[in-house]
């Protein structure tokens, strides 16, 4: 037996190193911002898909309910998409909470006076719009997806569920208000996620602000047009 016999390895050093790297990356504020950006971009992708499906309401019950049937016919894929969204939303909330705590702790004594000179309304309200949107999403799912909060819910008749609920002015008003807060959140988020991901292309980085603004306008006008359409009779 040789003196220099190699000890059997109990664990793979490369794998454990990777784990260390990932933990350190997550622990850093920049790593957390990257997670915020990635999960946020999943959210924006979902919202863009959602708003384009909503616009099918102008095509009447057959278009909306047809799209609903198609989505449900995909079975496992729909659940996979829902799982990805759920994980993204939960991670987004968790990391936002952790980052907010770091920020709040970093200034134990507040200023007597502080004047904004560079930030905007959207950036300063991110935490509040975020908390509100989390509540809105929960209500929205209970309202129009499961029907728990819907007084007049008909399973699989999405068109009826949407149109009948937006005939109630206070539901429409709350919805429009929520979409305005969504617009604020997306206005800052869709822009700043590119900053967090280090996108600095000399030619195309200038497009981030206009594109983020365009996404915001498309989202908010698209969503709000549905209750407005119901109210004006364009959707009936």
């Amino acid at each position: 037996m040789s003196e220099t016999a190699i000890q059997p390895r109990t664990r793979d050093p490369v794998a454990s190193k990777s784990a260390v790297w990932l933990v350190l990356f997550y622990r850093s504020t920049i790593g957390k911002k990257v997670i915020m950006a990635l999960t946020g971009s999943i959210g924006i992708g979902f919202i863009l898909l959602h708003v384009s499906l909503n616009l099918l309401a102008y095509g009447g019950p057959s278009a909306v309910n047809g799209a609903d049937r198609f989505l449900k016919s995909t079975g496992g894929w729909l659940w996979l998409a829902r799982a990805i969204l759920l994980v993204a939303v939960l991670l987004h909330i968790l990391v936002a909470y952790q980052l907010s705590r770091i920020s709040l702790k970093s200034r134990p004594v507040n200023y007597q006076q502080w004047e904004p000179v560079g930030s905007n309304w959207a950036s300063r309200t991110m935490r509040w719009t975020g908390v509100f949107l989390a509540l809105f999403i929960a209500l929205h799912i209970l309202h129009l997806a499961t029907g728990t909060l819907h007084p007049n819910f008909i399973q699989d008749d999405v068109y009826h569920n949407v149109v009948s609920t937006f005939r109630m002015w206070y539901v429409a008003a709350l919805y429009i208000f929520s979409m305005c807060l969504l617009a604020l959140h997306v206005y800052h988020g869709a822009w700043s996620m590119f900053q967090s991901l280090g996108y600095n292309h000399p030619k195309y980085a200038g497009w981030i602000r206009p594109v983020a603004t365009l996404i915001t306008v498309v989202i908010v006008l698209g969503f709000i047009s549905i209750p407005v359409g119901v109210f004006t009779g364009a959707i009936h």
Partner: protein
């Protein structure tokens, strides 16, 4: 000119502080803000009162020693200006001004308007250096630097480390400071050997010091006396991702 000043008075790091009202008289429009405070202090000394402590050194806007919040804005209302280069002609007779120190967990108040900014030094110590050849200086043109890189590195290197970015940030983040230092060296050929380790170590130190994260409010950019752009924070994020994803194998020994 006469001014009413509300100044944060704090005896030492352990004592609680409070805002105290003073009247500044005989203020000339050509005085700098610090000269106005010097005048107030002479008056206070004459009255056998404790003068107001504030930091200053070069008084020509290049050293980064001075700095305070004036009416809630770091370095006062003028853009691209340190407090020492802010002149009283930008204020009106009878104005009321609130003077507060930089506020951050990583900037503990030493006295009145003076804060301890050692945390910024520790970020530099973690990686804000290059490995340089000893001996005689090399011929200046022996290392070629593209003009755009040289210009951007110069813009980043303009940072005087005053801490206004941290003070103005709603998150108390030192991202602009750290970003300026990292970008400056990452853009130069001399900064390449330590490039990946530098960004990992400086960001880790920045987080450990208790600074907040960057949410892109852009307050830092607006108050920076050297008008350093937040695009350097984008550069910092890119450097951090590059080190973590592309250079993971080379930085791992530094992490373990």
């Amino acid at each position: 000119m006469k001014l009413t000043l509300h100044i944060w008075r704090q005896k030492d790091a352990k004592s609680p502080g409070r805002m105290v009202q003073y009247e500044a008289t005989e203020v000339e429009p050509d005085m700098s803000f610090l000269e106005m405070l010097d005048g107030l202090n002479e008056k206070l000394i004459g009255q056998r009162e404790e003068p107001v402590s504030f930091d200053s050194d070069c008084r020509e806007g290049i050293c980064g020693t001075c700095g305070m919040m004036i009416n809630g804005i770091a370095h006062g209302p003028r853009r691209g200006t340190t407090v020492c280069q802010l002149h009283m002609r930008y204020f009106n007779d009878g104005d009321t001004l609130q003077l507060e120190p930089w506020r951050d967990k990583a900037f503990p108040v030493i006295k009145d308007l003076v804060v301890n900014r050692d945390s910024l030094d520790r970020i530099i110590q973690a990686g804000g250096f290059i490995s340089a050849r000893t001996g005689s200086a090399p011929e200046a043109n022996s290392v070629q630097v593209p003009k755009t890189n040289a210009d951007q590195a110069m813009d980043a290197a303009a940072c005087i480390g005053c801490g206004a970015c941290v003070a103005a940030c709603p998150n108390g983040s030192a991202s602009l400071f750290t970003a300026a230092k990292i970008s400056h060296l990452a853009l130069m050929p001399q900064g390449q050997p330590e490039r990946s380790r530098r960004v990992i170590n400086m960001v880790t130190t920045m987080d450990q010091e208790g600074f907040g994260n960057c949410t892109m409010h852009r307050e830092c950019e607006a108050v920076c006396p050297k008008e350093i752009s937040v695009r350097f924070i984008v550069e910092l994020n890119r450097e951090y991702l590059r080190a973590n994803f592309k250079e993971r194998e080379t930085i791992l020994p530094a992490l373990l």
